[in-house]
């Protein structure tokens, strides 16, 4: 056992700080695009989200390295697949947090709080620890330090030469590694990035939205198409750090408030705030265009895509929506991205 509690969620749904306050390291399961999902495909048909199948594949092969798993309700995949995880993944502790779908009902916060208190109780019992207010506040402070540094790093994408993969990798570390250890690395990275050359010529600045990107190869494809992600609203990205956890007397209330403040995923109701964040980012950072995408079989984002595309069109914002696969190399996707890049170039020339 190495003190790791793995997280199975979609979007950014699991309360990492509670896991940290239990003395554990939260590790977000992201699967692996290079590993076949055959082990999970025995239980989940091939018409299910390939990312979720990859998460299960990772859990089936790696659970012995983890102390436990916390699953948090995100999309239909998380809660429906949970039953399969319960049946097939060997793990001493598997807990389900039913964080509310609704971000509008008055009762949802009350319910959310009880869900988080139940998680605290379950962790305390399982690991014979006390999750005190002090410990929670300490975890929140560490988490906020990481988020603040990521905010600064993320901002540099607009002015400096920061390849897509580098940005992705640094965000990925934040959701998979010990945050206390990560702080100094992020500080060093910040100094390095500040000294980077300015934003390279020939690249278009884009905002990336849609299904969460969980593997860096996708970012490489964008790079190859000369599209630089300077803004996003993804969970391995701005959704994770755009908001800090507020300083409330009750840390549980603070964690809940944070969940209401982060860029809204399609998996929560209502989804209108998702568009608000995209617009804000688009205008604030003067990006050239918006790349909206959904992973094949990722329904929530696929449903939102038409609304988004239509709204962008109405507002005259250059954008494209693509459906992508869960594969490391994708020539077809690259060709479409190149075409998008050409379109952005033309628009730029017309300005």
């Amino acid at each position: 056992m190495n003190n790791i509690i793995a997280i199975f969620d979609s979007s950014h749904d699991a309360p990492e700080e509670i896991i940290m306050a239990a003395g554990k390291i939260p590790y977000k399961i992201l699967g692996d695009v290079h590993t076949s999902t055959t082990p999970a495909d025995q239980y989940l048909f091939e018409t299910f989200c390939p990312a979720a199948r990859s998460f299960l594949t990772e859990a089936l092969s790696s659970s012995e390295n983890w102390d436990g798993i916390v699953a948090a309700h995100g999309c239909d995949a998380t809660h429906r697949h949970f039953d399969i995880w319960k049946k097939h993944v060997k793990i001493p502790f598997l807990h389900y947090v039913n964080n509310p779908f609704s971000r509008v009902s008055k009762s949802s916060r009350k319910f959310y709080k009880i869900e988080l208190q139940t998680l605290i109780q379950a962790l305390e019992e399982q690991y014979s620890v006390q999750i005190t207010t002090e410990k929670l506040k300490h975890a929140i402070s560490i988490s906020n330090q990481v988020k603040s540094l990521l905010q600064k790093l993320g901002k540099l994408r607009e002015s400096k030469d920061i390849p897509n993969r580098e940005y992705f990798e640094i965000c990925k570390k934040a959701v998979q590694e010990d945050k206390a250890d990560l702080i100094s690395e992020l500080q060093q990275t910040l100094e390095i990035w500040k000294d980077r050359p300015t934003f390279p010529k020939g690249y278009a600045k884009i905002m990336l939205t849609g299904s969460d990107v969980t593997f860096p190869e996708f970012m490489d494809i964008l790079e190859k198409a000369k599209l630089r992600v300077v803004r996003d609203d993804l969970s391995i990205g701005e959704r994770y750090y755009a908001a800090l956890i507020p300083d409330f007397d009750d840390p549980i209330d603070a964690i809940i408030e944070y969940q209401y403040l982060i860029p809204r995923p399609s998996t929560k109701h209502p989804s209108n705030p998702r568009l608000d964040y995209i617009f804000e980012a688009y205008f604030e950072s003067k990006v050239d265009g918006i790349l909206s995408q959904n992973l094949k079989f990722c329904e929530d984002y696929a449903y939102d895509s038409v609304w988004l595309s239509d709204t962008f069109k109405e507002k005259g914002i250059p954008s494209i929506h693509l459906e992508r696969d869960f594969i490391a190399e994708d020539q077809q996707l690259f060709t479409r991205l190149e075409a998008f890049r050409e379109l952005l170039k033309t628009q730029e020339a017309l300005k």
């Binding site: 429906r80 949970f82 319960k86 509310p100 009902s105 008055k106 989804s271 696929a302």
Partner: protein
Amino acid sequence: MSSAEQHTQKKLVKTLKTSSKLKKIMAWYFIKGKIYSKLPWKKVAWSVSGFPTEFLWTYDVYPFLPENCATIAAARHKSQELIEYAEACGYSRDLCSYMKTNIGAYDKKLPAQFGGLEKPDIMVCTNTICDTHVKWFQIQSRKLNVPLFQWDIPAYVSGSDEKVMNRYIDYVQDQFWEFTDFMYDHTGKKFNQKKFIKTINKADELAVLWHELFEYRKKIPAPLGYADTLGDVFPMFALVGERSGRGVNFYQELVNEVKEAAKVGKGVVDEEKYRLLFEGIPFWYKIKFFHQLANFGAVVTYEPYTYSFGARRKIIDNDIEKSLREMAKTLIHTPYFYNLETRMEYFKKTIEEYKIDGVILHNNLSCRPSTTGMADLKNYIQEELGKPVLLLTCDMNDPRAFSEAPMQTRLESFIELLEAQK
């Protein structure tokens, strides 16, 4: 002529005499909807399966059920063009075909008899069955500029116990009062306790009769099959708690007919050989597929899908809060969306009670939520319960997913397997 064609050409299963009366009731329901949407003081809602329709009837708000309308479009062979229209608007091939049918049916202003429906005053939905319901209604409420109420129902996953259930019930119950606020804000109608009690009692009458019908399906030969229930379920989702009592009268007549048939040992197929359980939503554009099972002496005697619409919501001791707690349970946990653990136990019990010989599972390309866990379920039924399983990959509303010859061949092999097991 292939053997598949021979079978589909044969005479189809007989349906009950009473079932033919449903047409009139449906016509009445749709006319009522048309009238309600024209009169400014009447209100009309769109709602989803899983949302208690009786809560709308309590307010005399007329419920349009886009899923039901979508099934009508499919049965009238209209769904494909509507789905293709929605896909041309940008909706992916992999998304729910009910949703896409509704997008097409509304935009193309289809008449009710082909699956069209009127613009509502409000929309109500839950996420209890799928995220699709919420996403779908978000899309339409935005487009039609209609207020939406989303009832958040927590997922009761495997391993959940009574403590978990109680937590969830509290949340669901709290939202009932938010629903009444929403109704007041958007329809001007206040919650009326007396009317609520009356409507729920009426709804329960319907559910009791529906369950009684299922009791008769346990008999050998089965006097009632899927060919009847998949149409006869209509009042169970549209007329639950409706005041005129048309649904109740219809079910009472059905029960009487079925009772009589059971008494004299009359089955829906002439020579009942195999009793089947069908899991999933039927192929609405190809209902013949189920009818022609009769050619093999097979009858579907149970399907969780239609049974689940009969969830009983009761008034207990005239106490609203107490009653709401019980109702909340049925919103959280009902056969159609049972978690895998419960689903397995439930299948075991049902297979025994209904003396099932084999199970057909619909791996529905439109409906990932209902298909999740199906691989485990299949293994369990085959290995632990020793019953043959036919897994069909298809779609409930999109005829492009239905491939006649392979489906027929697979069905025939399944029947052979059943025969070998006899």
